[in-house]
Symmetry: C3
Subunit: 453 residues, 3 copies
């Protein structure tokens, strides 16, 4: 809520600084009203570009962790989701999420960025919110990889960016009811452990459940078998791109360069990634005596997901602790879902879903009370370990529970509904041959001799 208010005040100054309720498409009035705004625009845009680039990271990670025979399909899905997100969020999603609040539940203005939304400040906020919506959308493709029809993914992408994501987003970042909980300072989620990652992860879980596991993932006795991905180099490249993009995702979420706390956020983001990677690779080494690269990469991403909510409100040592626990959770998560017969080819549910929840909770534990949104004079966020009592943690638990229920529930309805009316899973023949030929007419690597594991 605090963050939201801060953003509103900031946008208010930008948009309405010159004369009330006038749009400013050229930016001249906004600049005149706030001559210091260029550095904020530069900061938000450059960070937004980095967040956009995470699309490439997800594409490479998912392709790398899946088989060569489905690589074209994964490229198609990772491109179409952001394409659809761009158009649908422009038409509906942004209005539902960030438009004028209606009863704490939904936004109701800003459709097609029309009318008074033709304004530099509004466009800036749209750009920022869009790249986040696109991130939530693309998380799911990993969990449903190697068996979901492209057409179903196309429709799913519309559902998530027009409805599932923006409504929950409104409740936390759009002035909705979760941000106004009377525990702590209300439910808070600095850069979206919940809004982006838990949403993406649990919609992905719903998809994986509805689809069922890939052929060959489980032996007849139910024992999971490893299906190795086709390129560890691409998976590592993708992880580095995501890590890089996260430096936009988290520090940029101040929405202002005048919050010098951005330096702390960058450090925390990095430390959590490193701690997650280190713990994950060491844990698996203790068990298997192999240095498991895939798990290290997922540990790194888990740390990044977890630090996303608390990044602005904790100290460096806490970031290490949060990341380390994330590294543990992702390892346990991967084993847990597998033991339940759920097939999540890239570990998206454990990385984004579970650690999104952990990130939300960690705010209620580690927030140290040194920062709110400084400029707005709001009360600072303070957790259990820093004398904040149980209040913030309760707010975080409520938000996390709502997030999981909403994402999983609507995701499940969405995939079940599609399954009933057009089928979500490709035919067994197609799955065995790979989705690339039948769905796209193009194998990803026609000059190489490949075989299917």
């Amino acid at each position: 809520m605090r963050r939201l208010i801060g953003i509103f005040i900031f946008l208010g100054v930008l948009t309405f600084g010159c004369n009330s309720f006038a749009q400013d498409p050229s930016g001249a009035a906004t600049l005149a009203a706030n001559p210091q705004s260029p550095v904020d625009y530069v900061w938000v845009l450059v960070c937004g570009f980095l967040v956009f680039f995470m699309q490439a990271g997800f594409a490479m990670v998912e392709a790398g962790f899946c088989r060569a025979k489905n690589a074209t399909n994964l490229m198609a899905k990772n491109t179409i989701d952001f394409t659809i997100a761009s158009l649908v969020f422009f038409a509906f999603g942004f209005a539902l999420m960030m438009g004028t609040d209606y009863k704490g539940f939904i936004g109701i203005s800003g459709w097609f960025l029309h009318g008074e939304n033709y304004d530099v400040g509004k466009y800036l906020m749209f750009f920022w919110q869009l790249v986040f919506a696109g991130t939530a959308a693309t998380i799911v493709s990993g969990a449903v990889a190697e068996r979901l029809k492209f057409k179903a993914y196309f429709l799913y992408s519309i559902a998530v960016t027009a409805l599932i994501y923006p409504l929950y987003g409104h409740w936390v970042w759009g002035g909705g009811w979760l941000s106004k909980l009377s525990f702590g300072v209300g439910h808070v989620d600095f850069a979206g452990s919940g809004v982006v990652h838990t949403i993406g992860g649990f919609v992905g879980l719903a998809g994986a459940l509805v689809l069922g596991p890939r052929f060959g993932k489980f032996a007849k006795d139910g024992k999971p078998k490893a299906i190795p991905g086709h390129s560890i180099t691409l998976a590592a490249l993708g992880t580095f791109i995501l890590w890089f993009g996260w430096f936009g995702f988290n520090p940029g979420s101040t929405f202002s360069a005048h919050q010098l706390r951005i330096a702390v956020i960058a450090v925390n983001t990095n430390l959590a990634a490193a701690a997650g990677a280190a713990v994950a690779i060491l844990l698996v080494f203790l068990k298997t005596k192999k240095w498991d690269v895939g798990m290290m990469l997922n540990g790194c991403l888990a740390g990044l997901v977890a630090i996303t909510a608390p990044c602005a409100w904790v100290e460096a040592w806490a970031a290490v602790a949060i990341g380390a626990i994330a590294g543990l959770l992702v390892v346990l998560g991967v084993y847990f879902w597998e033991s339940r017969g759920i097939d999540d080819p890239v570990g998206a549910v454990s990385v984004h879903g579970i650690n999104g929840v952990w990130g939300l909770l960690s705010v209620g534990i580690f927030a140290d009370g040194t920062y709110g949104l400084g400029s707005t004079g709001e009360p600072f966020v303070r957790g259990l370990l820093y004398g904040g009592g149980i209040g913030q943690l309760v707010a975080q638990i409520i938000g996390a529970a709502v997030c999981v229920a909403w994402a999983f529930g609507l995701g499940f309805i969405c995939f079940k509904f599609m399954d009933k009316f057009l089928g979500v899973r490709v035919s067994p023949e197609e799955e065995l041959k790979g989705l690339d030929i039948q769905e796209h007419g193009t194998p990803a690597y026609p000059n190489f001799y490949t075989y299917n594991s």
Copy 2:
């Protein structure tokens, strides 16, 4: 012209603010004269870095869309063109393009950034113009891929960055005659649909024509056959990198962060890319019932090329329309050139050439009159749909026609000339074996079993 004047005024302030005609190599005098300039320097540099990174995007797209046996060659070409651009544009190109104007035709100062050009403002502008010149140069490698000698590409790179690009660039961005047309506000091209992409695309067409098609591209009856590229993952990665880099290309072309319109430009850039991708994949699906990833990627790039000229002067809905039409044009373009027996392995002519022209024209249609370069008090750009009459469209048509004629004409002369004196096409044996062994001594993937399609 307006843009140019704005840049000149800006540079004038930077360079001459302290005392007239003094160079300022340390930047101290420039900073003293304009204490707000650091944010502009940061903006231009960071956006310039992103534009540079598009080199990697072009390399990956071209490699991905071509065969494994020519991948080393494509890496060589995509590296050498920027290498040569850097050195040649430093020596000659920058002076011809942005130097003191001589009769509206050519620039005549700034060779080797020598003398009074040892100045932070001049270096900044050089860096910006260089990364654009390098982009124009690298577009061509796709159209002439898989059959052009490396030596010829080496020489071509000199020609384009020393002559073809800088002269046309001078006419539009260097104060030359096109920018001073008495239609509309003169011919305008915000970020280079014409200067960069049409130039690159039509020099590429000339190269493809002089070279002739690859073996196996056309059946004996002239029917085109698909020659699939060797890595859809690399092609998608390259497209994401280009999309990312375009956020530098277009918004950075304000050359100032004090133009808050940068937020609008970023949104427009993204929407056009998405609309282009969506239209292209849907169109091909209607025809073939396959979700064609290659065409979606090219549709995305086509949208980006088209929005490059109008990005600063149109509203979001218009960006969607411009991108959607670009998605249509690129599909038609690919079929058109193929039907004429022209072999453009990666679709560079359709993506950059045709959509560069479309981008120029779209300014004359959709420019909505809300923006010029606000800071300079110039008249704003206004097209047909917003009461601007036919004037701006005429200026755009003239510029586009000159651009196509200049690029194709000089490109044709250049390739023909090289063909006469040293031959531009590799031997049939080499083409069949792939260019990597003979030209470079190194196959790209020596640890993999590959075969040539």
Copy 3:
């Protein structure tokens, strides 16, 4: 030293501007004391993100230049080194390097960023110094590729980021004795040709020496044989990423956007890269009549390494000269080490070690006296060709000699020590099969038929 003093003054203003010795975790006091600081924070952070992204570049270059059977191992090493750097530099390295100076030899404050280091200015500096430490660490993995045990690399990473790098770094950038030499303005190294690249390169040489060459690298008569890497496309992609990241590395080392000299630094960085690439490919072509892509990429990197120390103090033409000589040196270097029986799979010693030294020396030759750190009123750096006499060159030679001796000496001790107690080289069987299976349990490309060259 000058740079250091500048940074200290800058940090001093930031940190202590409001009230002496108070930490400022929210950044509000720092902003109040210096309202212009946001643009500096944005600049340093964005450039730092780019430097971080170089990790992906190193990973791709090294994987591309090595064989498919070791690609997983290279991804593991390139991830773990930055992971360890993050945690170890946070715990110890940063304090040793940038903490309060003790007798010119070592820093002694700032452990775990604790206490008064919980401050936006300190966190900013930590982030910057960390991404540099991580770069130094990752350089070594190339020189020791395809035969070093993962466990040894794990331990080496701790040694280099906890001790070898921070101590030498303290001597140059932390107020230590080298920065206070009474020749010239003391030993200077603008962005780390010595601190980062010479250190990394010569620790790598020590590792390569202790390990010995890979099987098959040298014939029985000692004649070197080429062992081609498995993906020229990844190597080229990695080089573009590094080139891109270097635009953060060098210009960002002003640590302030108010130094408009950043424009000159960006131009110089790019010209040196281009000159190095051009000279390297032309030299090898003259000798072999092949356009050697690998050498062009290394020539490009060599130019970047060499310009890193002098980038802020020279003019554009000098950057071309420095880069061109780097291109020559890297070709000679590769042949030289091979002729001595030393196996450096990716040329890391020649690229980073030799050209790091050349970069340090070039300051003493080409620095033109137009820039120091302008804001601090320090004497400007001036070399031999610009009337600076022999003083600066002597300071540079001393620093380079110390750097080589320190890096090689401690690196040698470190690898020898590890070899004695746990062995550094994998078994001959494992080396022949590739490190991926035995160490990591995962081949990098399980869907492709590969063979080992």
